[in-house]
Symmetry: D2
Subunit: 260 residues, 4 copies
């Protein structure tokens, strides 16, 4: 009831480089103050989805919730921008918890790289040569050989991002699923992808990696010359996004499915 | 081994009208006997998916499991046909439990009809006039007006049936989802449908039902001149399908997603 | 200007049954007169695309051009509705000439039926049983067996109608092509159809017509229990549609391709 | 009849680097001789479609016909490989003449580059930032702003290549059309592309080229940091491909449309 921890006063603001995000940052820090991220009860991100992804990545190890206000071109993860009533909105906001994907990449030097992805892990050709990929799910061979621009594994939160552009389905935010979606498949040319359990371990093996080099990308973190990529959901990490009531991520994704 | 309850001896066989299904029925009842359905420990269905659907509908109130063997043209729900080893196969079979959809239809005489669907509930125009439909999910208007041949709501088990023909996504058998998929949408012409929680209540309202009559169909049970159709999952009813090890419904649907 | 033949004075008006079309009919015939169709220099159709199709069919044997004004729900073939300036608009209108399809249907009684289609010839299942169809192009077998709701052959003019709802491509009005597009294909489930030369002769053979009856439909003219359907363009028939400058059919179809 | 110019004796062989192409080159030149390209009546290309494209580009200014034999992984443009009867096959081969696209690229330094494309001209993002493109056809703005991986313009011959991977339609080889197809469109997310007259001039303008750099690619010739790309068919250039009877390009493309 009372003395609820949600009497938020300590805010850390971040902003994208866009002039209108920077201007908002000036006005809002002047009005509501600015604490260091370690002390913050909430991080308020000013920009578009690009900034939100970046902020989520940067604060993945803390458990501090993040509230975005849209000052960018695409704001699927952002609330409407208003300067007034920020404290009230933060107190009334609804929380959505999402889990990232963990990507492990082995490159042609046999070095292993690791990164987390909130939206998607994608594999993409590095030259005009089409990629030739093999797909295993839970250790079982499922796609022997696919020639394509690439393939991606998307979370429900990411299903409205790159996955949507390559004609993958939008997933309800609470669906225990991952979308495995081909990018410009050439052979087999009509494969549309698969919906997998969120407990699935997906392995992508790169065939002919010298002739057909690919990059493995976790959101925007890229590793070149991958030869094998493993992807699974990192259930132990929970990212907290805050949304104005009636506009939480489940409603946003549901509404997005009925847009046309 | 010892007295496990799975020492099945009481089988009720059913068969489709196809000659090869009838011939199989003769040979198998001669060999394994034939008990009445009320006494059966398992029902063995001989035919294709059409017969399986029919058998599931007929025995929905019992809890007796059903094992199909393929003697038809489409056998997604059927095991391979062999005459030998039937008892051993039944004992080793894996069980998949699926829930049907409950459809409630109000027609133009204000009469209410009810039926269950294992695969899908579909709404379809009765004349060459396109249907004009409105869609609500959990009481909330989601699609104001769609001109189309129709729309369907599919279960995961049904996602590989009519839903697949109209370009809906295949759902893993355990995904707590329903697929809402338009059939030949004219306006909005690019809407691809939505994946909904399996707890969703879907209501389809028929606009201009006199000029644009539609039928509501639960699997093959049709009610004409529907004006309102309500659909939700009947969680209280669990249908038991038996599959040979390694070929249970989850694996079948997963494999189906990688077919091309 | 001077006595160009385009000094149109003899108009035959037709209208759909919709109240606003009927009201327009009253006002326009009062203002511009009404001649019999045989005497008309132009037919002015008041309604939507449905009326336009009907009018085109009714006057297919004359060579009188038709000018539509939109008083209906879908007006792709219609000009904007204004009551003033009609004579000037008719004189300045641009003409698009389109060719219909000729459909020849053989039914289960071996009776042959014939009809013309401006938009499309479609084959569609008559019961819940999926149709099983075979497709030949210019006498050559191209699709051995397709299980589906049906299939259609669309003209460029019709490519924005039913063809578009079933995900067929929009064709430029002058493209010498026909679109052959499956309707809810079940097997082969990923076939997307073909673009054929407008000189192609398409034959659809209905397999298992007793178990799986289908109708053959030319626009809205339906023949039930078809067992074989032949379709080709009737080049000898040219239908004249009139459009306000800058809004002729080629521009409309091009613009339609960039809608989303 | 007799002394037809088609008594081919002067062949120039080319081969890809693949071992089996190189081995074929050794055997065939030993058997049929090898003349310089300038003297050749026909060029025989040994490899896959990649080599064929390269060979067509290299000899675009001559009018010498090219006959391919498949020693590669994808051989849509290639005939079957046999070592015997080559002269007879060359004499009986059917000719398909295709026209390339001419691409003019202006880059961020205002330098203009030009290249020809047999399959397609594609525009593609150079970094993870989505491209933002504007599309004009014949000087008229048709797509104000599209966020995407890119876009392509394909010839009928190229419609079965990259265009097919990004879900563009296959075009009959003689259709006077070009396919304009989006690559992973993010906004407008459901635009499927357009079929344009082969006389169309397509202009792609790159928006925010500093933040969102793109490459313009004609088949495999790439120019980076394009800010404007113009594409139209080069009718004056006719490339001659030779195919065994019954397997010419029109038949190949028609057959490809019925594959699934």
């Amino acid at each position: 009831m009372h003395d609820r921890p949600s009497d938020i006063t300590k805010i850390h603001f971040v902003a994208s480089e866009a002039p209108e995000a920077q201007a908002a940052f000036e006005r809002l820090t002047a009005r509501y103050g600015q604490v260091r991220p370690e002390e913050a009860e909430v991080i308020v991100a000013l920009g578009g989805d690009g900034l939100m992804l970046q902020t989520l990545h940067q604060h993945m190890c803390h458990s501090v919730p993040i509230y975005g206000m849209n000052r960018g071109s695409i704001g699927f993860l952002m609330n409407e921008y208003h300067e007034d009533d920020l404290l009230e909105r933060l107190e009334q906001a609804e929380m959505s918890v999402i889990h990232p994907l963990r990507m492990k990449v082995r490159d042609r030097e046999s070095v292993t790289h690791e990164a987390l992805a909130i939206n998607e892990v994608s594999i993409f050709r590095l030259t005009y040569q089409a990629a030739k990929l093999r797909i295993l799910v839970d250790g079982q061979l499922r796609m022997d050989e696919m020639m394509c621009d690439g393939v991606l594994v998307a979370t429900p939160a990411g299903s409205t991002a790159y996955n949507l552009s390559v004609y993958g389905p939008i997933l309800p935010i609470n669906a225990p699923l991952l979308a495995l979606t081909p990018i410009s498949p050439f052979r087999p040319r009509r494969w549309r992808g698969a919906l997998l359990s969120n407990e699935a371990h997906v392995r992508i093996e790169v065939l002919e990696p010298e002739k057909r080099p690919v990059a493995a990308v976790a959101d925007h973190t890229e590793f070149r010359h991958a030869v094998r990529v493993d992807v699974h959901e990192a259930r132990s990490i929970g990212l907290k996004l805050m949304f104005d009531p009636g506009h939480a991520l489940d409603e946003r994704i549901l509404a997005e499915q009925f847009r046309y």
